[in-house]
Symmetry: C3
């Protein structure tokens, strides 16, 4: 009885290009597993079809009907949102995803990305197959999203009016913070966190940190390095300034890397394999999956030589390069990592 009938639902505001195609969507209150009554009420007013995914425009007339219907059905928050749509000059839609299949429209991709950033779904838990191909490569400007073929005219018009059309990025994904700022986070520079990132409560992303879509941190974490798409960093871990977690690009393999809890990856370091809990990578050391490592025991005695990949996901390891011999070593991490909260709180 509690198995959800619908995957997700949201009412939102969209931008369209000159052809009328939706190119992005903001959903203030997206819902995972929405109440069945809510969806059925919306379907009474809107044409939500019967496919896996549906996107319905909420015109001025429909907005009033939908507002009444949602109030009747006991959903004042969603009704309030519709009321605002009716009053404003924005272009409103409802998006229903019945089943988590490959998305079929821009509106659906944006809903899934917002489910992630609202912490309603974990990275790698949603079907995003083909999402990249659906999204338009857009200029993200101070006046909103603009199709690239419309950009030069818009830029010139702005200049002729004595204004500036500021182009902040040219990308398929916008920055997260213009859609949602989840509770309990700091993001020192918002251009470095894409919509679709999942930032756990208590996470700080400093200026040098970066979080791609469908990636993030499980809870409190200090992110001053780069989290590639698909990568999840465990609670309490600390990514030092400029450190790199290898993605499935630029020489990385096909396996998505994970970082356990309470790890420390030093500044300018990097990993090309998954690490367990309480692991440390020394500042400046890059350990790829294929790096041969001298594994030492607690007394510094050589146990074996292994590829880093073979040490994947093991706990309590410290990786360093012996500064006198140049060899990469893996030793037990005797010290537990204490994230010094007082110090972090001053960052």
């Amino acid at each position: 009885m509690n198995s959800p009938t619908f995957h997700s639902f949201a009412i939102g505001v969209v931008t369209r290009n000159r052809k009328g195609d939706i190119i992005e969507a903001l959903y203030p209150v997206p819902l995972l597993h929405p109440p069945e009554d809510l969806v059925r009420s919306a379907a009474d007013v809107l044409d939500l079809g019967d496919t896996d995914n549906a996107v319905a425009a909420i015109g001025p007339g429909l907005a009033e009907d939908l507002h009444s219907r949602l109030m009747e059905a006991g959903f004042p928050q969603q009704a309030g949102l519709v009321q605002k749509l009716a009053a404003g000059k924005a272009d409103g839609i409802a998006c229903l995803i019945r089943q988590d299949k490959p998305p079929a429209s821009v509106a659906e991709v944006f809903l899934k990305l917002q489910l992630l950033s609202h912490r309603l779904a974990l990275p790698n838990s949603l079907n995003l197959d083909g999402a990249f191909g659906l999204l338009h490569n857009l200029a993200w400007t101070n006046k909103g999203a603009v199709e690239l073929d419309e950009l030069p005219d818009r830029q010139l018009e702005a200049r002729l009016a004595g204004e500036l059309l500021e182009v902040m990025s040219v990308d398929k994904f916008p920055k997260m913070t213009n859609y949602v700022v989840p509770g309990g986070v700091r993001i020192a520079h918002s251009a470095r966190v894409r919509l679709g990132a999942y930032l756990g409560e208590g996470t700080t992303v400093m200026h040098e940190g970066f979080v791609n879509f469908n990636a993030g941190s499980a809870g409190k974490a200090m992110i001053e390095g780069r989290i590639s798409a698909g990568v999840m960093v465990g609670e309490g871990s600390d990514l030092g300034g400029g450190c790199s977690i290898m993605g499935t690009l630029s020489g990385g393999g096909t396996e998505v890397i994970a970082v356990g809890e309470n790890c420390l990856i030093g500044a300018n370091a990097g990993i090309g394999f998954s690490i367990g809990d309480r692991c440390i990578i020394e500042a400046g050391l890059y350990v790829t999956a294929g790096t041969k490592v001298n594994v030492l025991d607690r007394n510094g005695k050589h146990v074996k030589t292994a590829k880093a990949l073979e040490l994947s996901r093991q706990n309590d390891l410290l990786f360093r390069r012996n500064s006198l011999t140049g060899a990469v070593e893996c030793v037990p991490n005797k010290a537990s990592i204490e994230l010094n909260e007082e110090l972090h709180s001053h960052n």
Copy 2:
């Protein structure tokens, strides 16, 4: 007789949240050790109390009185500022810090941060104890600072009006350049310099550079790497692209690191200990405090093996990793560093 009666004073414009609390303050002309007459004139009009720190609102009526009083007392610049406050619709305040104690309000923290960025006080010279706890974690937007609990409504309102509320960061500290750009600097990307940074005249911060609050450069410097809180870089030094100066976080120790004059830290390199004057760290080499180093003499003869920490603050050293043996070496830096001005001037 010249011992200053007051620590600092400034008249400014503030932003308040919906509750009426001050959440940030811009002081166009902050004063360290303000003339006693100026403060007493202000106190004639405003309620500056008698505590270590005082913040007084300058309402419309008070602004006119204060303007007259400051003109009489011979302070036309501050009087002019008050006149502008009276004419505009902004929310004005005066902030007086009698003694440099731990700050007690947001207004005082912002005054101290602006004393640093106006080069009126050096990093580590002001009492900022507890400052972090006083500051609000805010959305810094194209419409100014916004409390996070007010953000979703503001974002939706903007979108419904066909506009964008651009959230540039979510942080306790804003970027410096929206408060002050000190003379003789270039900052290629302003999101990378926090308010409270101290940039010496002649400093260039390139796109990959970063300067935290209460940190900076003594004079002419080329900053393409990251300067952590508390760190001061000496005149004429050059931080290569992506280099790291370890802070007291992410595995760094508790000692704040210093960089001497005319040093060169290579691209993607890093240090976890203090270096003296005319030192070089080879590109790509990270030397932490605990790194064991082979110290060689001028003829390449091994003198001793030491931890980098033991070489702290010594002048004329060059650190490199021998590319054939993998050992980290410290040798005398025979060549003086000449910052090639013609070349730099083309950056």
Copy 3:
């Protein structure tokens, strides 16, 4: 007969400081080797002098005459631009460069930078001698370019009006995307690409990528590292996150470095010498021109020890640091690099 009479020509919109000096110029349709008739038609109306370079203001009266003259001569696109100038409140100019000599004005420098970013000229093909000295160090704001001595007043005025003058950078060069977005590129964060960059069709610059002016990529390339001024990266090459290509600063030499086709420079790696085609630098390894390298043959047998500079521009090399001996090695790159398009397409 086909040897071009003129080097370049453009009609544009400028910003002036309070003194009336041009401080920047946007040219929507710059022309390399413009039709002789076009220039002569413009010269009928405007004072284009007879020096190597000419900048002529297009006042309201002149704009109408120029529009008619250009229509007559058969240049509707340029005529249309002039018509828009006449209708708007912007400050219009025409800029003619007869010969590619050192630029003599801000307007000419901006024209050359836009020729590069429009892909009309390759990096290192235009005379930019002395350009840096001509450019003003400006605040680039959400209201356009502002001279630094005018900035504090402008910032205060904005605040008093309840607005924010957002200072995005303080630099001689603006970001490219506010002037032109060439076809077929993605730029995840526009602050990292300066005007004067040349991005080949198919190039993606990710958040950690950086491209200076007079530098760029030949075609399809994935740029997650830093391309210094003068550096050209070949078609199909992949610069990993945070990698560094040493410029002629910060310890680099005077030779401008080149990267061949289908190379891979790993994350956090770096080079201080030129590499040929299909070369790989292992993640985290910095190879400067002076790095001594053990050159091995296909069977791992030691051939010679050489400085990296001696291996400059050779094809099919892989550089790595042996993780057990710490020695830097150069081995033949057996595997060809396949940029995995499906994966890249998800970045």
